[in-house]
Structures are given as C-alpha cells and as structure tokens.
Subunit: 350 residues, 2 copies
C-alpha cells in the first residue's frame, strides 16, 4: 500500500479506469476551515491574498495530505482568481463567497474581461504549483471555474439561490451571454494549461452551479463553452474531472463536455450515476458531506454504501458529493480515508 508516487498513483489510475490496488480518495475543500492547522496560519482576509503567497498556499495545500493521507492534493486557490487578477473587481468575502461590486450588466462590461495571461496576471499560482510538485508524494489537481459558474458570480454580484439575473441574461441576450462565457472559457483554458505546465497531474473544472439549469438550457447555452475548455486540454494528457451539484439530469451532458471523470453529488446513488454516464468514464464521489457530522457509525455505513454501489468498477475516485463542511471533525475524515483504503469487495463480504 505504501510507496505511491504520482507515477503509480491509484488516483490517476482510477481516473483512467486502469487497475490499481486500493480505492483512491480525496476531499473537495480538504484544505481549509475544518483544519485547525489551517486556521492557525491562515489569518483573516480574502483567500485571494493568501493565494498570492506561494509559501502559504503551498503549506495549506500540503496540510490535508499530511493529516489524512489522501491520494491527491488540490491546489489551494479559488475559481475567481483569474477574473480577479485581470481587474474585473471581484473579491472573496469570508463567510459569503465571491462578490463583484459592479456586476456584469451589458456589453461594455466585456471590456473588464481582457485577455488573461497566467504568467503576467497570476505568476504566484504557477510558483505554488512548482513548489508543490517538488514536494508532494501524491498527484496535484489543478482547477478552474467553468464558464457558467464563474459567470453566475459576475452577473449576480455574489452567491445566489436562484441565478435569476444569470438566467435572464442567458435567455434574454444569448449573444452577450455567449460572449461572456467565451471569455471565461479562455480564462479556464489558459489557467489550466499553465497549472499543468507547472506540474499539475490532473485538472478539475468546477461547474458547481450548472445544476440550476434545465438540461435544454445547459445544452444550448453552456455545454459548447465547457466542451471548448476540455478540448483545449486534450493534448496535455492529464485526467480531466468535471463537477457540479444537483446535476442528476446533466450527468450525461457533463460527460459529453469532454471529461474523463464525472463528479456526482450525493443526490444520485452512484450505481444510478453509472447507468447514466456509462462504463466508459470514471466517477468521483459521492458521500453527502453532512453525513460526516452524524457520528462515525453513520459515516462508516454511508461510505460503505457508496463503495458497494460502485461495485468494484476501477473508475471510481472516492470523494464527498460537495466540499467538506467547515464544522467537520478532521478525525472523522482521517478515519474515512482509512476505511476507503482498507475496503475491498472481499472484506465487505466477510
């Protein structure tokens, strides 16, 4: 079980549906507020400030790898880093999320989204990736926000429950909406290519809020942009993961966007997700993060249910169905990693 490196990584093997010796596991938001060692060094202020400090961002990325023994690290960063770096005017408020003081309203606002050059705008991100890949015992996942989800913050001006303005723009002015998503697709492509060039071994495109859309709207107004992002990464040869919540109806479309691995939230049982996505892709997920607060017996039962529903398919990366909740006890996640690593169809039958 020991001695995994990025070269013989169970995580990368699972992404590629190749044989490997244990189910790999990592957690979305594994680096962050649930860790006391994170709170000890993080200070207050925006994540955007912390991301500009490669030594700090490196340490925060490493913390959960050390503590949990997860099979992958994910870069400590934020999906709005590129739009913030080009000067759109967006910040990440602690306890709130991304906030744009002047939301995207009309075609003039496209001028606030000039071409994004990672070497010019975010050299510190690539520096963090280089520091990390020199030190990490496991693969590093680079990531970016998908065009729709980043657009939703720019158009709404902050987090939303209804995405009213975003949908009104999408349906009321589809050309402008397409222009906006086109720019954000360019950002995602440039950002992910730079992260891989600096050493990231896999990428995840977060379309966290795409599940708010009718599948026909997603297909018409969002899918082409996400497809362009994934297609522009094909030559890099790294596994590509695509994730969103409340995506039950969108799972085949997230697959069609060009991902190798489709993230699944907990609302869709993993076996049902497999039926929708097909055997030709890997799945990532899908324990409800809230389960981690229900006591160990519940965690063990529910995690085992996820593993059983996977049915031994080599294309499974264990994860939560969404990010780690801030109230989560890190010891529960450590035990969960052990459970996943020692589980097998055989042990389950004993």
């Amino acid at each position: 079980m020991l001695g995994h490196t990025p070269e013989n990584s169970p995580f990368l093997a699972a992404c590629r549906r190749r044989p490997h010796d244990r189910v790999p596991v990592w957690f979305m938001r594994q680096a962050g507020r649930s860790l006391p060692e994170y709170r000890a060094i993080r200070g207050t202020g925006s994540i955007l400030q912390a991301v500009r400090d490669p030594a700090l961002a490196t340490e925060i990325t490493l913390q959960p790898v050390r503590r949990y023994g997860v099979d992958a690290a994910i870069l400590y960063s934020d999906i709005v880093v590129p739009v913030a770096a080009v000067g759109f005017g967006v910040d990440v408020r602690p306890g709130v999320g991304p906030v744009a003081e002047q939301p995207f309203r009309d075609a003039d606002d496209l001028d606030r989204l000039p071409p994004f050059d990672p070497d010019v705008h975010v050299p510190y991100v690539q520096e963090t990736v280089r520091l990390l890949t020199a030190e990490l015992p496991v693969p590093l996942i680079g990531f970016a926000g998908a065009p729709f989800t980043v657009a939703s913050y720019l158009v709404e001006g902050g987090p939303s429950r209804t995405y009213t303005r975003t949908k009104a723009l999408m349906l009321g002015d589809p050309e402008l909406f397409a222009a906006l998503l086109g720019r954000l697709a360019d950002y995602a492509i440039a950002s992910l290519r730079a992260q891989v060039a600096a050493g990231a071994s896999a990428v995840q495109l977060f379309d966290s809020w795409a599940g708010a859309l009718h599948p026909a709207h997603y297909t018409r107004h969002v899918l082409p942009h996400s497809q362009r992002v994934f297609a522009a990464l094909d030559d890099l040869g790294v596994p590509k993961i695509h994730f969103g919540v409340t995506t039950g109806e969108l799972l085949p479309l997230l697959r069609d966007a060009g991902a190798d691995v489709v993230g699944v939230d907990w609302r869709v049982p993993l076996d049902a997700a497999r039926t929708r996505v097909g055997d030709g892709h890997a799945l990532q997920g899908n324990l409800d993060p809230a389960v981690c607060l229900a006591g160990w017996d519940a965690v063990a039962a529910e995690a085992t249910d996820v593993l059983r529903r996977n049915g031994g398919h080599p294309g499974h990366v264990f994860n939560l169905g969404h990010g780690v909740l801030p109230e989560t006890d890190p010891d529960v996640l450590a035990r969960l990693v052990d459970l996943v690593h020692t589980w097998s169809d055989t042990t389950d039958e004993r």
Copy 2:
C-alpha cells in the same frame, strides 16, 4: 371557456386526469411580494400576523385570482403556522424565512410540540377558508408543510443550504428524528383536514427541501411520515399534490407517498418526469421561475416547451417549478396565464 366553478374546474379535472377544456394554471407564491396590490395592504411584520387576520388573508388570497385569472387559489398562509401556533417559538422574518430562536436539539424539545388542534390553535385559518370558499370562483388549495421540511427549520433554526444538523439528527439519532417527524405529520394531518372541512377543494403538501436527501435516506427516514399524512386524507376525496425542488431522483417516491399530483421543478423536463412517475398520476409544473424575468419571447418559448413536453396528457397542471420570484412583473404572469389557456396541441401545430 367561461363559467368555470369549483364543480367543473379544469384544475380539479387535471388533478384527476379527467378530460377538460383547457390546461389549468396557477402559480406557487402567486399571492405575495410580486403584486403591488399586495404590498399596498400587507404592511410590514411577519406573515404570521397577517395570517391571523381572516379579512386580510382572504383579500391577499383573492388578489392573484382577480388579476391573473388563474384556475386555483392557494390559501395565504405559511408552513410553520401550526408549529408557531402551538408555541414552539418560531417566526417568519421578512427576507429571511422561518427562524426558530431555540432550535430543536434533543428529546426535551418534543415537549415544545404538544398536540395541535386547529380549532383551538388556528381558528383564524379555518375562518379565512370559509370566507374564501364563499367568494372564490375557482377551487381553493389548502396546504401544509411536510414533516421533513418543517423539521429542517426547527432543527437548523432557519433556512439552510446544507441541512447539516437535520441530517446529523436523522442519521445519528433516528428514533428522535422519527418522533419529531411523527409530531409534525400529526400537525399536517390535522391542519389539512381542518382546511378541507372548512371548504378547501384540494391540498398541497410542501416538502420543498426533501430533494436535499439521498433517495435511500428519504425512503428510510421521511417517506413513512409523508405516507401517513396522505393516507389520513384519503377519505376526504380531494386531490392531493406533493411538491419539492431538486427532486429528480425522488419523483417516484413522492408519488409513492400517496399524492395524486406530483410537483416537478424545472430541472427535470416534463416528459422525463412523466416517464419516472408513470401515466397513473398527474404532474404539476414546471417552468423555471427565473424565465419570467427574461423577457416575453423567452417566457413564451419556454412555456410552450413545457406544454409540448406534456404531450396532451390530461394530467397536467401548469405551474412554475418553484415559487414566483419577488422581482417578477405581474403583467408577464397575466400573459402567461393567457398563453396556457389558449394553447392547444392544434394551435401549436399551425
């Protein structure tokens, strides 16, 4: 087209999948903040105060019927009216939602949920129903909160995005959770029976947030309580509607709870929902409320798409996929009612 009464109502016919001369339509939250005449008489303060004034609640319920010509009225009330009336300590804060100052934490809190007697605790609700049914040209829908959704407010202490405490209680102390939902099922039964006895022609059970649950958790911990509610209404002979959002995976289970009509949010195309629920039940929905803010061309196109996906099935009550958004232009909803009322498969083919 004129002269519909509760006796020959297209709405009631559609709920029962019987022939009728036009597609019926009403809107969740049709009475409320989007109407200037509502804002003119409503004043500030909690909805719980307004509900205690039968003349005011009657007028607010009637406003959208007059303005839109919808095929059903829905009682102006709130799902926390019973728990507030028994003295649990809950209020509805404008712009926030239901808030419990002392959330439900342990078995002692069951004492704060004594038996609910509508005649003793909420006589004003039944008085409003009587005033309305004497005056309404269309059926009145009574409603209640489903045990899970009401419990989520009591346990979380307010609205939530994650339902962390609720799920932790459900999985960590299933007996206490069942006791809580049992009390709330009793409340829903008593409340709905009293509303029907006072004159309501149909009922809707709102399990708005059940879609946050894994289907297996819903089946084990929630479905039995909702089934008990619907079974206890069977002798009344009124159509029973069941609704929640992000319920794609739960639609067959919402049906199995005992509803005649299953509400569908916009994430699931209506034809896909029909496949999941089967032809033996009616569907209600499912235009995305955000579409109503995207300009009339988009509204017309999307509403027509919903009607087409229904494919002429007699069991369809047109509605939004969730409540009317406060920013909605009432004129758009009025045009939408006309579109639905004049639409037919025949006109669509011209």
